[in-house]
């Protein structure tokens, strides 16, 4: 695994925009923010390293499913701060297996030469984004860069990325279990709307009729005991890019629970068990010292001197505390309170830019169905990946 500096393509902004990525530049309050889509470098892997990552994703998926079964069997919901009223729906969904589509494992790794296995940082199992960047934009990039003189020494370039094909195949697979149209709902911002537009695109290409709307436009009709679209039509199948823990706290949350068995929500509500940071100490309890895991505990670092403290339900690097030698070395602010977990710091995975600046990559492994089928890399200047981190393409040889 290497970080290769590159010259960005001419008109790269126009190229990624026309393919669907309008949010390619970070909003830092200036006219010229740093790039979010950063093709001034790429990560290069060997085929063997990609095999390692693919196997890691598939193994972690099996472990997470076993952990979800364990949580349900042992009723460990309170440790995950999951509200009691959601439990019947979670258990119904787990037992009846309504359609689930995708998720993204975030791992830390510096490649085979580091001597370490990839380490799981968290599982974004409910509302993963950076999807169109991974599936479409970096695919276009590698296709064009395959003939670029800066990378000619590597021969033909490949990429760990069959996300697009797998998504279309998965929609075809779950088609019989979904009423039509399938609604795609997200907040009113370019990233979320374009992410669900891309997912909608793959569903349409699989032959499923779709409609798209804002989360705020989802209507509830008490007389019909049903969710209605803006045309007052009944919504039976809804893909929502919106976390279950937020839905349950909002006005319509009780209705979602009460009507859960008659509505196909994607992702299903049992994904709350995996998208919760509490899955990390539970995995560690079930698979102690597993090479893909980092030691993790609820509410206490135990004997660990180097660890990261994360709220159960934080996102985008918010409310994180890094501790090294029992001293806090970094913290981030944010709106997330409540119970926390402590997870051992991963072996350092840092790469240098040409100017010597340190870059910390996080490897996002995409799971479609139960298969690991793609890689997207977020990179940041510090050890905490946040919403100012950039997306850097990859290839392998």
């Amino acid at each position: 695994m290497q970080r290769i500096p590159l010259t960005p393509r001419e008109d790269w902004q126009q190229k990624v925009e026309s393919a669907g990525l309008t949010f390619h530049t970070l909003e830092d309050g200036t006219a010229n923010g740093d790039p979010y889509w950063d093709e001034s470098a790429a990560y290069q892997f060997t085929a063997a390293e990609i095999d390692t990552l693919e196997a890691a994703g598939n193994t972690l998926q099996e472990m997470c499913l076993a952990a979800a079964q364990h949580i349900i069997d042992q009723k460990r919901y309170a440790e995950l701060d999951i509200p009691a009223e959601a439990i019947p729906a979670i258990e119904w969904a787990w037992n009846n297996e309504p359609p689930a589509l995708y998720g993204r494992f975030d791992l830390s790794w510096a490649g085979a030469e580091s001597g370490h296995a990839p380490k799981l940082l968290e599982y974004n199992a409910d509302t993963p984004t950076s999807l169109l960047e991974a599936a479409v934009i970096q695919w276009n990039w590698v296709k064009e860069m395959d003939h670029n003189k800066e990378l000619s020494a590597f021969g033909s370039l490949d990429q760990f990325n069959s996300i697009h094909e797998k998504l279309i195949a998965k929609w075809k697979d779950i088609d019989p279990f979904l009423s039509k149209p399938i609604y795609f709902a997200a907040l009113d911002n370019p990233e979320d709307q374009l992410t669900v537009t891309y997912l909608r695109d793959t569903a349409e290409q699989a032959g499923l009729p779709t409609l798209q709307m804002y989360m705020e436009e989802i209507g509830w009709n008490d007389e019909q005991q049903a969710f209605l679209d803006p045309n007052e039509d009944h919504m039976f199948s809804i893909f929502k890019l919106y976390p279950w823990e937020a839905m349950l706290q909002e006005e319509f949350g009780p209705h979602a629970i009460d009507t859960y068995q008659s509505t196909r929500w994607i992702e299903p509500i049992w994904k709350m068990l995996l998208s919760n940071k509490g899955i990390l100490p539970i995995l560690w309890q079930l698979y102690p010292n597993h090479e893909l895991l980092l030691e993790s505990h609820f509410d206490s670092p135990g004997t660990m001197a180097d660890y990261v403290r994360k709220p159960l339900m934080s996102r985008e690097g918010a409310n994180i505390t890094l501790v090294r030698d029992n001293a806090t070395i970094a913290t981030t602010g944010g709106p997330y309170n409540g119970p926390q977990i402590d997870q051992a710091l991963a072996p350092e995975a840092v790469f240098a830019k040409e100017n010597g600046d340190r870059r910390h990559p996080i490897l996002g492994l995409w799971m479609i169905d139960q298969n690991c089928c793609g890689l997207g890399i977020r990179e940041s200047a510090g050890p905490i990946t946040d919403n100012f981190s950039s997306f850097v393409p990859h290839f392998f040889i």
């Binding site: 990609i50 599936a135 590698v142 919106y242 006005e251």
Partner: protein
């Protein structure tokens, strides 16, 4: 090859074009009271379109009564009666269209967690993804 043989996303490209050219969907228009709590639309519809009402004081003059109800455009919150709205405007924005609630169907019951005071979600994000 470990990558997709073909990646075509025409809906995505069209949506990106719509965003970059400024095409937007309508925003919510709700009738609210002086505390920005949603009330039925007919409260606003029955009021004159001005910031203050005048009422004779019985002595040849007028007393001025602040508008109890007014329309609220865009922002967070939904159409739910009694729910609170914010982050929007007292006047419609030029070039935007607005829709009010319809019939007995309530809207806006999802989506509030990430729009209320959402300035901490910045960078490339601002959304509900992770």
């Amino acid at each position: 090859m470990r990558r997709s043989t073909q990646v075509a996303a025409p809906l995505l490209a069209a949506a990106a074009l719509a965003i970059t050219t400024g095409c937007r969907k309508p925003e919510m228009q709700r009738c609210v009271d002086e505390n920005n709590r949603v009330v039925a639309d007919n409260f606003c519809a029955s009021q004159p379109n001005q910031q203050q009402q005048q009422r004779p004081d019985g002595h040849g003059g007028f007393i001025f009564i602040p508008m109890l109800y007014h329309y609220y455009y865009g922002g967070w919150g939904g159409y739910g009666l009694g729910s609170t709205v914010g982050g929007g405007r007292l006047t419609p924005s030029w070039g935007r269209s607005y829709i009010n609630s319809s019939g007995r169907t309530l809207r806006g019951g999802f989506g509030r967690s990430f729009s209320e005071g959402g300035s901490h979600f910045s960078g490339h994000a601002g959304g509900a993804g992770e």
